[in-house]
């Protein structure tokens, strides 16, 4: 439409960084898939769930492939958002969207990274039994730090964005969501506390004394999740209070996608954190829960990509 199209499409997005990011992302994902799909299933797992190696493959392979597909959607959604934020980077909302897209890019990168780390550690642990506690602790902290930085970046961007909208009456909505988060935190804390922290089962998940588990796992997660959900709330609040029918319509996809990704990601992590209790379930319902959450994350990123494309279109005509 305009002669600025070409400039807008390039968006200043550093192509060198982009390709390094994509190459590293593909390398991590491919290595994870190779290490997960090629080796024979762990006999201990087969015995625990009373299944054959063939059953295991039918149950686990679709989940792993679905996970990889959701990472690809994450990559596409994050890049679309980054491209949009680069186009408007010099404006007041550009800086806010830049933080949000950086958070999603980091989140997307951390997914294959932490999965691969866990997988590699799992292989090492089979041969070096003494390394299990150290590697488990490192793996848990990698997951916290990765998710934490990503959610804080998204939250900083969302807070900046919400400050751009006209002041509205947010108290009721804010009280409602903070109330819901308090209920969630209480339920989460309950599950953490009722877990028998001194049993070998709990040690297999954390290998930490109770005070370290609470102070360096439970509390940081609750803080990170608060920042993540607050980011989703701020983007919705911005969408609700900003002018522009077409702009708001495009923003709805972005706000919805952000909420779905953050909420599903929190649900996934919650299940992992309280997994000692879930071990009582058979493998099939557990996998259905995992399938559902992975699917939701993929859907969230599709919505983000659609929203970012619609917003970008406004900047390109």
């Amino acid at each position: 439409m305009s002669s600025q199209n070409h400039r807008a499409k390039s968006g200043g997005w550093d192509s060198y960084f982009k390709w390094v990011y994509v190459a590293a992302f593909i390398a991590l994902s491919a290595t994870y898939l190779g290490l997960t799909l090629i080796p024979a299933p762990d006999k201990a797992v087969l015995t625990q769930h009373h299944i054959t190696a063939s059953d295991y493959r039918w149950l686990v392979y679709p989940a792993v492939i679905l996970l990889a597909v959701s990472w690809i959607f994450g990559l596409v959604g994050s890049f679309r958002m980054k491209a949009y934020s680069n186009i408007i980077r010099k404006s007041s909302d550009g800086s806010a969207f830049n933080y949000i897209s950086a958070g999603f890019l980091l989140y997307t990168f951390v997914q294959p990274l932490s999965s691969l780390t866990a997988n590699v550690f799992g292989h090492i642990e089979k041969h070096v039994t003494g390394a299990v506690p150290t590697l488990t602790i490192i793996n848990n902290y990698i997951a916290i730090v990765g998710m934490g930085i990503a959610f804080v970046l998204i939250s900083v961007g969302a807070e900046r964005l919400s400050r751009l909208a006209k002041a509205g009456n947010e108290s009721l909505m804010e009280h409602l969501w903070v109330g819901a988060f308090i209920i969630f935190s209480s339920i989460y804390s309950y599950f953490i506390v009722i877990q028998p922290l001194h049993t070998p089962l709990a040690r297999r998940v954390y290998f930490l004394p109770p005070w370290l588990l609470i102070s360096t796992i439970a509390i940081p997660y609750l803080y990170i999740w608060y920042r993540g959900l607050n980011a989703a709330f701020r983007i919705f609040w911005y969408r609700r209070n900003i002018q522009g029918r077409l702009y708001r319509s495009a923003l709805s996809y972005l706000a919805g996608g952000t909420t779905v990704v953050i909420a599903s990601s929190i649900a996934t992590r919650t299940i992992t954190t309280i997994s000692a209790g879930l071990n009582r379930l058979s493998l099939t319902p557990l996998l259905f829960i995992v399938y559902g959450l992975i699917l939701l994350i993929a859907i969230g990123f599709v919505l983000i990509a659609i929203g970012a494309n619609k917003l970008r279109r406004i900047e390109e005509v």
């Binding site: 900003i242 002018q243 522009g244 029918r245 077409l246 917003l311 406004i314």
Partner: protein, 93 residues
């Protein structure tokens, strides 16, 4: 109370549809199609500008009612009925 410059009047209407993206949208249309600084448009530029704005707007939405409402409000500015154009959104509900 009449609004400010022509650009401000067009911007104010456009913000009802494009929010924070409106100023970038208007500036881009003026500098690309009229080859002018956005602050220097005159009433004689408006006809061409409104045609471009309407055309560009059709690429953003399939809803013909929004496009025609936007065009009508811009036409009111061109006719010097700026306040009417700014208020029209409320009359149209």
């Amino acid at each position: 109370m009449p609004a400010g410059s022509l650009k401000d009047q067009i911007l104010e209407i456009s913000q009802d549809y494009l929010g924070p993206a409106a100023e970038r949208f208007i500036d881009r249309q003026i500098s690309t199609h009229l080859k002018k600084s956005p602050d220097k448009i005159t009433r004689s530029d408006l006809k061409v500008l409104i045609d471009w704005l309407k055309l560009s707007f059709t690429l953003l939405t399939d809803d013909g009612r929004i496009v025609s409402e936007y065009a009508k409000r811009l036409q009111l500015v061109a006719q010097g009925k700026s306040q009417e154009a700014l208020d029209k959104k409320w009359n149209d509900g």
